[in-house]
Amino acid sequence: MQDSAVERARNAGKRLFHFHGGLRLHHHKQASCQVAVQSVAIPPRLYIPLMQHAGPEATPLVGTGAHVLKGEPVARFNEPSIGYVHAPTSGTIAAIARQAITHPSGLEGLCVVLKPDGLDRWTRLQPMEHWQSADPELIRQRLCESGIVGLGGAVFPTSRKVEEARNFGIHTLILNGAECEPYISCDEMLMREQPDKVVLGALILQKAVAAEQVIIAIEDQMEEVFSALQAAISNADCTHMRLVKVRTIYPEGGEKQLIQVLTGLEIPAGCRPPELGLLCQNVATAAAVAEAVTEGKPLVQRIVTVTGNGVKRPHNLLALIGTPISTLVDACGGYTHDAARLVLGGPLMGYALASDQNPVIKAANCILVLSNRDIQSDQAEMPCIRCGECARVCPALLLPQTLNWQIRNDLLDDASDSGLGECIECGCCDYVCPSHIPLAEWFRFGKSEHQLLAMERSQSNLARDRYLAREARLEQLKQDRERRLGEKKQALRDRTSVTGGTMGQGPA
């Protein structure tokens, strides 16, 4: 990155910029913001997945029958600086078994099943009394041991981010409170109810990465949050912390978009914000950081928005990691009669779950239950009419109709040249498409297929000598890919025909 870009990044938030496209959506947030955050009762069983973020599963540290205290590590990640998975409450380990985990793939994974003893007794906590004067490396280690991850949905281990940030040298820490996806209000409620904790967490993170300034970005419609945070900032008496209101437009809270709005800079794929001297963290992550450092508490719970027309009383709930989703829904009065889809996350980027027995995970910012009227999934797909609406709203300046065509015809390299890697999977294009083409789904598929292709190629490079064998293998791989493409088409077609429509694709 050139120095001029870093210089611009240093002036982040002094002037606001726009990003291309985006959507102005109905917020649907009021329903879940009416009442204070409430704790969910401890359920009879907690299911703690050992895969909480990208990468391999953690290795269990305890055996069946062992008694654990709240906050004790129950599993450990083998990769460095990722840390542990902790017991969300005290109790006995009932089993360590494979079962459905809350993941877009819908696959099973290893879970620690905990039978709570109802005492909710903490392990011995070790707050860092003097974090202000502590070695930043000790703070980073604390974040690692406490299992702190990005709570905005990406669940990237925070200690990793801090480490990377320190290597590049950070001047500005951006706290992302621009919760732009409809329905989700957990961050808003957190900022309203615990502004001091958010500010404290920001100060600790600032110390950990030695940033010169902190910017807290919130949406311009969050009036209550604004005054709460402002009071907290002046209480904490920090002069290098600023509160910035950004437009309420989706996906303004996306990391790249927020940085673009604050600095006017675009961060292409492959380049990371720390290269500009910027570090982005979600506000809930900051609060978790504050608890980990000043109270010694690892990340064992989070605020989850439970909302949508499919639940009787939408709420924000404080839930232990591992609590079955059904317990949260029950705490909200149960389902309404027309509950039709269960989504983890928001309506644009969240993924649908097949069962409400899935546990709450660290990434679970929202549990959205939608009625049939909300999704209208019976709309048949039509051919693209090249109206260009998708390109008009794409924040990554892509031509989704072209990408769609390329992916469907197995032109993955062309799609990559057309910028598939820049797609942030925000779903804007998909939402506006009058032909109801599942564009975002195709882009997710295309990205993973292209990754696979790249892997195949790098492997085949190693075996360059055995040319013929390689040709044969590539041919086999190509056939496999074509088969998967066919299956994908079929799957999407089935999805529409189940509900009565037929997909009219024309001769593709």
């Binding site: 889809r341 989504v343 309506p347 644009l348 097949a354 260009g388 910028g419």
Partner: protein, 343 residues
């Protein structure tokens, strides 16, 4: 409680629009122009619209059946109706019925379905249909009526119906007696015969801005078109570039040689420029998709139209200009790809 749910891909939101809705809005937007048309030139045009729509739906259904596509789904997209109405608006009001039949055959069967149906046609179907009948039936395609206010005889609804169904002039009349050259035709022939346009302008067929009656039809289409722009059904680039280029080029010609070139306003308010700018050149399927590409596309249609009007064999040139630009569209799109984020 343990409850199972059906899954589906994000986004989990009701769609905000459908192809049918887009097409229906185009039809609504055509209403003011069609009403003005009927007001000034009689009910013949409504019959043409009905005829063309009927043939279009017939051919559409047949082709969908042949191609084993879901008929109800695709009839519901209203695209065939839009094609039919746009085609009908290019016909002389009393053109015989088989013109609509032949035109719709070429539009729906050849230009649309043989290329792969909705979304796959390279050429604007309505303009393909129009070009075919214009070339094949030059006689019938020039039997234009004068505005009612200056017409020598009153042609009623039944007279019109009879003329369309029989291909004969209404009883007791001859084509020569009831038809008139359009303003653009008049300009053409008068310039060709050495007169100046100023002389032609004295004729009754001219109004304040362009052709008498035609100018109000153009206003009607413009009103509908601007509504479509406001609703974001069509982009602003194509109409702006097309009308802009007509004005600029028309003005240049007019300033150079006012005797043999119509004024830019006469260009805009006569013939199919406004209809073309808002409704024909904006067809997304056969046009450009990138914003810059759409500017070039619109300007191209405008410039070609004026060139055809000045030097071509036909008085108006919107249809041919659109078809030529349809061919160029993929190339324009390739060279006007927007910059990718971060690039």
């Amino acid at each position: 409680m343990n409850r199972k749910f059906t899954t589906g891909a994000a986004p989990h939101l009701p769609p905000i629009s459908t192809v049918g809705e887009v097409m229906r809005q185009v039809l609504y937007a055509l209403c003011p122009g069609v009403i003005a048309y009927t007001w000034f030139f009689g009910t013949g045009i409504l019959l043409q619209i009905l005829l063309a729509t009927g043939f279009a739906l017939l051919f559409e259904t047949l082709m969908l059946k042949l191609r084993q596509q879901p008929v109800a789904l695709f009839l519901n997209d209203w695209s065939a109706v839009v094609t039919a109405v746009l085609f009908a608006l290019c016909l002389p009001p009393l053109a015989p019925w088989w013109i609509a039949c032949v035109g719709m055959f070429f539009a729906i069967v050849m230009a649309k379905h043989l290329y792969g149906g909705l979304g796959h046609n390279v050429f604007n179907p309505a303009m393909v249909g129009y070009a075919v009948v214009l070339i094949s039936f030059p006689q019938a395609m020039t039997q234009w009526l004068p505005p009612i206010s200056i017409a020598p005889t009153d042609i009623g609804f039944l007279d019109g119906l009879w003329a369309i169904l029989s291909g004969q002039p209404p009883a007791g009349m001859t084509w020569d007696a009831i038809t008139r050259a359009t303003p653009l035709d008049t300009i053409r022939t008068s310039v060709a015969s050495g007169q100046t346009i100023a002389e032609a302008r004295q004729l009754q067929t001219f109004g304040d801005l362009g052709g008498r009656g035609w100018e109000w039809i153009a206003n009607g289409f413009a009103a509908g078109g601007i509504w479509l722009m406001w609703r974001r059904v069509i982009s602003w680039q194509v109409p702006t570039a097309m009308i802009g280029s007509v004005i600029v080029l028309g003005l240049a010609g007019y300033l150079l040689d006012p005797g043999s070139n119509p004024s830019p306003l006469e260009h805009v308010f006569s013939g199919a420029i406004v209809l073309g700018a808002f409704f024909i050149a904006t067809d997304p399927v056969s046009g450009c998709t990138s914003p810059r590409g759409r500017l070039i596309f619109g300007a191209g249609v405008g410039i070609l139209t004026l060139m055809i009007r000045r030097w071509g064999a036909y008085p108006d040139g919107v249809a041919f200009a659109v078809l030529v630009m349809n061919m160029a569209a993929p190339l324009i799109d390739r060279y006007t790809r927007p910059r990718i984020y971060g690039g």
